[in-house]
């Protein structure tokens, strides 16, 4: 058995804080490249104009004065904790939320979270709580990925328990229907995260995790990669285009994740990420 490594909760706070402060201004390189690729491929003149504006918006935000988008998002935190790590000096959840609180405050980011969904909907004022997905993994490191997830695109996600007889065709139709219905509301072009399999709750997390891959990086299983390529072509055939003003570049990538499921079930979930794809990773 390996030595247990101690990690101070304050280090987790610092990593989360720094990530929140960075990603809302500096869109990751893979997203910058994806928008440039779309600009080269876009056939519609208005679509090209929009993509030029998005490139300018990226450049302006990267100067550090104005966040890329005014919706600085739900703060979604994926944390993989090595099983040989012992977190000391505080509670993990509190440490993450403290990072969000101080990062959002000091980087002039918007507080977009309300404390309850249907009673008073009072803004918590500091964008907490974070939406945290924890995994215990082998090793003695902690990997933290933060995603500032826009509400507009999040609202357009869909989830369904299909029948096994609906098959792959049923899944494709569901993805296309979701992208079509999202239309301009999800600020296209973006990334389409698809989860297939698992159960009611796992499939949604699969779809969200699919968004965390490098933009356009194919799935290692060639069958899944082929499905991604087909869905990519079909989503773009919808003609929605940048800002839904018509064009060939509706999505920048389709990422699919799959897992085992029940003999009675074919769960599918689609999570849409807008062009404000703000994510970053730290390893402690």
């Amino acid at each position: 058995m390996g030595q247990v490594r101690e990690v101070d909760a304050a280090e987790i706070t610092r990593a989360v804080r720094e990530l929140c402060m960075e990603i809302n201004y500096k869109v990751p390189e893979d997203m910058v490249a994806a928008i440039k690729r779309a600009r080269e491929k876009e056939e519609s003149p208005i679509g090209r104009q929009i993509l030029d504006l998005l490139i300018r918006n990226q450049e302006l935000a990267a100067e550090g004065e104005y966040p890329y988008c005014q919706d600085t998002g739900y703060t979604v935190v994926f944390i993989d904790v090595g099983q040989d790590v012992h977190i000391v000096g505080g509670d993990l959840t509190d440490a993450i939320n403290e990072g969000v609180r101080s990062g959002y405050r000091d980087a002039y980011l918007r507080a977009s979270i309300v404390a309850d969904p249907v009673f008073e909907r009072r803004n918590t004022g500091d964008n907490t709580p974070a939406f945290i997905h924890t995994r215990i993994v082998p090793g003695d490191q902690i990997r933290i990925q933060v995603d500032a997830k826009g509400g507009g695109s999040e609202n357009k996600g869909r989830h369904a328990m299909l029948k096994p007889s609906d098959g792959l065709e049923g899944v494709k139709r569901f993805v296309l229907r979701t992208v079509e219905e999202a239309g301009p509301d999800a600020c296209p072009p973006g990334i389409i995260g698809v989860g297939i399999g698992g159960n009611f709750e796992y499939v949604a997390i699969l779809a969200k995790r699919a968004l965390m891959r490098k933009v356009g990086q194919p799935h290692p299983d060639p069958r899944v990669a082929e499905l991604e390529a087909e869905l990519f072509e079909k989503c773009n055939a919808l003609g929605i285009g940048p800002q839904s003003l018509g064009g060939t570049q509706t999505v920048l990538a389709v990422h699919v994740e799959t897992m085992a499921t029940h003999i009675a079930s074919l769960p599918v979930a689609v999570n849409i990420e807008c062009h404000a794809h703000r994510t970053g990773t730290r390893v402690i």
Binding site: P67, Y68, L176, E180, G183, P184, S244, G246
Partner: protein, 204 residues
């Protein structure tokens, strides 16, 4: 006269707008908005409607005015405002007809509007325009002033009076019931790659 036709075909507007002004704005027009617009989004709309229901005064008189659906990020010291792009307009659909009845003339947000709002735009001669969704940093550069005028406790959702200069928007729904998204997307749909229910039959 609150609509100015620019040499490049774009139109500059400034509230207050009359019915005559609104009739000059057609789907697909690129419009530069200048002057005062009122920032209000979900929670502010809910409160405004509650005030109207209770017969109480509301934060501004909508007659002839423009509402921008936006909740900006906090301004840095020395800046007028933070990022300030549009939010999804359809979430305001439930509240919009009531404000149009009171004479509101212009709406700015992102995304489509439902049939009830499109109908109400026709009935009350008003226009819905979309700003660049997700272009929050660029939008900030077009804003010259901001003042919170109501519901400060709502934070980013407080009602603000914004002074804008040439904020670019597209006319999406005009006062004759047209929808720009429908018109813009159809020519680009590639039916041959899609299952039947997604085909539009608009390309030869």
């Amino acid at each position: 006269m609150s609509v100015e036709l620019l040499p490049d075909g774009r139109k500059r507007i400034r509230a207050p707008l009359s019915d005559e002004d609104v009739r000059q704005l057609r789907v697909g027009d690129v419009v530069l908005v200048s002057g005062i617009v009122y920032a209000a989004r979900d929670a502010a709309h809910k409160r405004i409607i509650e005030l109207l229901d209770a017969g109480e005064p509301i934060p501004f008189d909508p007659a002839g005015q423009i509402v921008y659906y936006v909740g900006p990020t906090p301004e840095r010291p020395g800046h007028v405002i933070g990022s300030a792009g549009p939010t999804t307009a359809s979430r305001m659909d439930r509240y919009t007809p009531r404000l149009l009845e009171l004479g509101l003339k212009g709406l700015i947000g992102k995304g489509g509007r439902g049939p009830t709002v499109r109908e109400a735009l026709k009935r009350h001669t008003a226009v819905y325009m979309a700003a660049l969704g997700g272009g929050g940093a660029l939008a900030a550069l077009q804003i010259r002033g901001q003042r919170v005028i109501a519901f400060e406790d709502l934070g980013p959702e407080a009602v603000r009076e914004l002074e804008v200069e040439d904020l670019p928007v597209w006319v999406v729904n005009d006062c004759e019931g047209r929808d720009f998204y429908e018109q813009a997307v159809a020519p680009w749909r590639r039916d041959e790659l899609l299952p039947e229910e997604f085909r539009l039959g608009t390309r030869p």
